[in-house]
C-alpha cells in the first residue's frame, strides 16, 4: 500500500512539473494558435537565471532564498518570452506555421547559447537541505521536494483561475480562446492579450525550470527538450486552451508514467506516447478542450 502511495505521490509531483510547462503552452496555443517550440527555452532561461541567483546566495540556501530564485527565474523567463513575442511572433501574425517554425529556431539558438556558455553537463542546483529529507505520508516516505512541486503547481493553478475569472484581461483571454475574431469585433485589441499570455506562460515555465533542475539533480540546456515534448502531450490530452485540462492531464500522465516505469523500466515513456495517440484518435479535442471554431 505504501508503495502505491509513494508511486502515486511522486507521480503527482512529476505531473506538477509537467503542468508548470504545459499551462503556458495551452493558453498560447488556445488564444494565439501558436505552437510554441520555444517554450523549452523559457524553461532553460528560468533554470539558469534561477541557478545564478541561488549560487549568489551562497552554497547554503534556505527556503526564502530558493523562492527568490524561483521568482527571479520566472520573471527572467517571462521577460524573455515577451521579447520573443514582440520581436518575432507579432510580425508573423496569423502565419501559424511560420510562427511555429520561428519558435523552433529560437529553441535552437537558446540551446546553443546556453550550451556554449555553461556546457551541457549537469550543474548542481543549490537547494535547501530539507528538500532531501523524506516526509511520512500514509506510511510512505515521500521525498520532500515533491511536496514543493505540488504546492507550486497548485498555487499556479489557483492564481491562473483567479486571473481568468476576476480580471478583465482574464475575461478577454477566455473569450479570445473561444472566438478571437468576435473579441476584435467588440472593439477589443485582442493582440494585447497575446503579450500577457506569452509573459505568464514564460513565467510559469521559468519557475518550472528551477524545479525541474532540482528534480533532475542539476541544470543543463539538454533537460528542457523532453519536458517540452511532455508539455505538448499534456496540452493535447488535456485540451488546447484549457488550463484545468492541462492540470488534470499532467497529473494523469505523471502518475501513469511512474506506475509504468515501476513495473518495467522505460515503459513509462512508451505508455504515455501510446496514450497520446489513443486520445488523439478517439477524442481529438482532449479531455476538457473545445472543438475550435
Amino acid at each position: 500500500m505504501d508503495t502505491f502511495i509513494l508511486i502515486g505521490i511522486t507521480g503527482i509531483g512529476l505531473g506538477a512539473l509537467y503542468f508548470l510547462v504545459a499551462s503556458g503552452l495551452s493558453l498560447i496555443y488556445g488564444l494565439m494558435g501558436v505552437l510554441n517550440f520555444a517554450h523549452g527555452s523559457f524553461l532553460s532561461v528560468g533554470a539558469f537565471v534561477g541557478y545564478w541567483v541561488a549560487s549568489q546566495l551562497g552554497p547554503d540556501v534556505n527556503m526564502p532564498d530558493f523562492i527568490l530564485a524561483m521568482i527571479v527565474g520566472g520573471l527572467a523567463a517571462g521577460g524573455f518570452a515577451l521579447l520573443i513575442e514582440q520581436l518575432l511572433i507579432t510580425r508573423l501574425y496569423d502565419r501559424h506555421i511560420d510562427q511555429a517554425l520561428v519558435t523552433v529556431g529560437v529553441s535552437l539558438v537558446v540551446g546553443a547559447v546556453l550550451g556554449g556558455w555553461f556546457g551541457n553537463d549537469l550543474i548542481m542546483f543549490p537547494t535547501p537541505l530539507w528538500f532531501l529529507t523524506a516526509v511520512n505520508i500514509g506510511g510512505a516516505m515521500i521525498p520532500a521536494d515533491r511536496i514543493v512541486y505540488i504546492a507550486t503547481a497548485v498555487l499556479l493553478l489557483i492564481a491562473n483561475w483567479a486571473l481568468l475569472k476576476f480580471t478583465r484581461i482574464g475575461l478577454i483571454i477566455r473569450a479570445g480562446v473561444e472566438n478571437r475574431n468576435m473579441v476584435n469585433a467588440l472593439g477589443i485589441n485582442v493582440r494585447r492579450a497575446f503579450s500577457t499570455v506569452f509573459f505568464l506562460g514564460g513565467f510559469a515555465a521559468g519557475v518550472g525550470g528551477v524545479l525541474v533542475s532540482v528534480y533532475s539533480n542539476g541544470v543543463s540546456p539538454l533537460i528542457a527538450g523532453s519536458y517540452l515534448i511532455y508539455g505538448f502531450i499534456v496540452v493535447v490530452i488535456g485540451g488546447m486552451g484549457s488550463v484545468p485540462g492541462s492540470f488534470l492531464a499532467a497529473m494523469l500522465i505523471g502518475v501513469i508514467r511512474q506506475f509504468a516505469n515501476y513495473y518495467v523500466t522505460g515503459l513509462g515513456d512508451f505508455v504515455v506516447v501510446i496514450l497520446l495517440a489513443g486520445v488523439l484518435l478517439i477524442r481529438p479535442q482532449g479531455l476538457l478542450g473545445k472543438v475550435r471554431a
Partner: protein, 340 residues
C-alpha cells in the same frame, strides 16, 4: 521561362564532375574524409527531399519522419547482422517495412489535421525512439545501437580506401530519390498533392478522396526514407537511436525551409548545405582557430545549432521561400528587366 536555359546542362555537368572527382586522389574529393562528409550530405539531401514531398508539396507537417528513416536503418542492420537474408534483400525488406509502417501510421494519423496531426506524428515518432533506445526484446541495442557486422556486407563498402564506393552509393541514392520524387510530383497525383496543400476543401469538392492522396504522399515519403536508412547504415557503419530522434525531423524541417519548401532542388540543397555545415562546424570546434575569440562568443559559435537556428529564423521572418525562393525572385526581377 523561369528556368534558366543553362540550368539543366549545368546540373548534368555538375553531376558528372561529382561522379568522376573521387577517382582523382589529388583533388579534394579524392580524399576519404571529404568523400565521407559528402556521402552523408547526399543522404541528408535526399532525406530532406522526401520530407519536402510531405511538407513542402502536400502541406503535411509531420514531426515523426525520423521513424521511417530509423526503421530502414535498424531493420536492415538486424537482418544483416543475424544473417537472416543477404544484404540486398535486407535493403529491400527494410524499405518495404518502412513503407508498410508509414501506411499503418499514416492511416491512423491522417484522420487528424493540422496541429493535431503534427502531435500524433510526433507521438509515433517518439514511440519509435523509445523502442530503439530502450532495447526492447534485446534486439535494438539500446543507447549505443548496433554496429553493422562488416563480414556480411560486400567488401567494396569496407575500409577507408573504399569510402568512394560509399560516396557513389549515396550519390546514386540521391539521384534515384530525386527521380522518383520528380516523377511523382510531375504526375497527376503530384498535382493533387499541391492542390491539397493550398486548399483541401477545393480538392474535396472536385470529388477526390483527399485521404487517399495524403496517404499516398505519406507512404511514398516513408518508403524512400526507409531506403535511405539502409544507405545511412552503410555510410555510418551502425544503427543508433539518434536516427530516431525528433531532432532529426526538426533538422529536416530546417533543411527544407532553408532550401525552399516548394522546390525540389531547394530541399536537396538545404539538406546538403545543412549536413555539410554541421559536420564542418563540428570539425571547427576541434580546431585552434577559435582560440583568439573571447570565450563567451566562442562557446555558442561552436554549437552548429546557433548559426543554423539564426539562419532559420532569418529565413522564416524575411525570406520564407528559402534559398530557392530567393533565387526565383531574383530571376523574375532579371526577366522583368530584360523585357521592359
Amino acid at each position: 521561362m523561369l528556368r534558366w536555359k543553362y540550368s539543366r546542362p549545368l546540373l548534368a555537368l555538375l553531376l558528372i564532375v561529382l561522379a568522376i572527382a573521387p577517382m582523382f586522389t589529388s583533388l579534394p574529393l579524392g580524399k576519404p574524409g571529404l568523400q565521407q562528409t559528402m556521402a552523408v550530405a547526399f543522404i541528408w539531401g535526399a532525406l530532406a527531399l522526401t520530407y519536402d514531398l510531405l511538407f513542402g508539396f502536400t502541406g503535411l507537417l509531420s514531426f515523426g519522419h525520423a521513424l521511417y528513416f530509423a526503421t530502414g536503418v535498424y531493420v536492415s542492420c538486424i537482418l544483416i547482422n543475424n544473417e537472416i537474408v543477404s544484404w540486398w534483400l535486407a535493403a529491400i525488406i527494410a524499405t518495404v517495412a518502412s513503407g508498410l509502417l508509414a501506411a499503418l501510421v499514416g492511416a491512423a494519423s491522417l484522420r487528424t489535421t493540422g496541429i493535431t496531426f503534427a502531435m500524433v506524428t510526433l507521438a509515433f515518432g517518439e514511440a519509435g525512439h523509445v523502442i530503439v533506445g530502450r532495447n526492447f526484446f534485446n534486439l535494438t541495442g539500446g543507447e549505443n545501437g548496433i554496429a553493422l557486422n562488416a563480414d556480411f556486407v560486400p567488401q567494396f563498402w569496407i575500409g577507408v580506401f573504399n569510402t568512394k564506393f560509399i560516396y557513389w552509393t549515396a550519390l546514386l541514392a540521391l539521384i534515384i530519390t530525386y527521380l522518383v520524387i520528380w516523377w511523382v510530383t510531375e504526375s497527376s497525383a503530384g498535382r493533387v498533392f499541391a492542390a491539397l496543400r493550398d486548399n483541401e476543401q477545393r480538392v474535396q469538392v472536385l470529388g477526390l478522396d483527399t485521404q487517399r492522396f495524403k496517404l499516398l504522399s505519406f507512404v511514398i515519403s516513408g518508403t524512400l526514407a526507409g531506403m535511405l536508412g539502409f544507405v545511412m547504415l552503410i555510410a555510418a557503419g551502425s544503427a543508433a537511436p539518434r536516427f530516431a530522434e525528433s531532432t532529426v525531423t526538426i533538422a529536416l524541417l530546417l533543411m527544407v525551409v532553408i532550401g525552399g519548401a516548394v522546390t525540389r532542388w531547394g530541399a536537396v540543397l538545404g539538406g546538403i548545405f545543412y549536413s555539410f555545415a554541421s559536420t564542418r562546424m563540428q570539425d571547427l570546434t576541434q580546431n585552434d582557430s577559435l582560440e583568439s575569440i573571447p570565450e563567451w562568443i566562442a562557446g555558442p559559435i561552436a554549437e552548429p545549432a546557433l548559426l543554423l537556428g539564426l539562419i532559420f529564423i532569418f529565413i522564416v521572418m524575411f525570406a520564407p521561400g528559402g534559398l530557392s525562393g530567393a533565387y526565383y525572385r531574383l530571376r523574375m526581377k532579371a526577366l522583368a528587366r530584360k523585357h521592359s
